[in-house]
């Protein structure tokens, strides 16, 4: 993971809300967790089961038979 050291003005109220929500301690950990959460939600929002997945119910069954 690449990390960049930077100086930013932080909305302290928003930071405290995010810290409580994410269960993080410390400024860097909270900011990074919040950024990752935004990225995670974006992946979920864009997920398309038809486009992103392959396979059929029969193939799932077949995998369990041999498993």
């Amino acid at each position: 993971m690449r990390m960049a050291r930077t100086t930013v003005d932080v909305d302290e109220e928003a930071l405290e809300t995010a810290r409580a929500e994410l269960g993080t301690t410390g400024l860097s950990a909270t900011i990074n967790a919040a950024l990752r959460e935004v990225a995670r939600r974006r992946v979920l929002a864009e997920f398309d089961v038809t486009r992103d997945l392959d396979g059929t119910p029969a193939e799932v069954e077949e995998g369990r038979r041999s498993g």
Partner: protein, 150 residues
Amino acid sequence: MSAAPEPVRLERPALFDTGVWTWARDRRFPGLARWFNEQVATGRVLICELVVLELVRLAANESRARELAARLAAFESVPMPEGLWRRARELQLALAPEGDHRRVKAADLLLSAAAESAAVPLVHYDRDYARIAAAGELDQRWFVPDGALA
């Protein structure tokens, strides 16, 4: 052409059996994929390690497999701790009086135990989960009514 089946109404996140992910791709009923994608976007689709392994197995080639694995990392996951094996064995023996221990597969038992221990519903399209639910505490929900998809 039969009428489009009505998917289950979920009021909270649920573990989805691997089969449901592929049933949702049924080209006869595009509404199922739309419904599934909406559940994903709103965080209602939970995964676990076993489902990830089964889904990635379906990927057509290496790049599809890597892309899918990266996307699945964004999903919330229910844990599969060591204790699940014990619970899966208990469920298996609870199915034995009806002889169903011979038909219900190891993967079904482990997914049921994972959903049970995380106290989340399990969404499926497979009668075996109804059998498992009758033998334990599993909150099972049919993805669409039994028989709607063949």
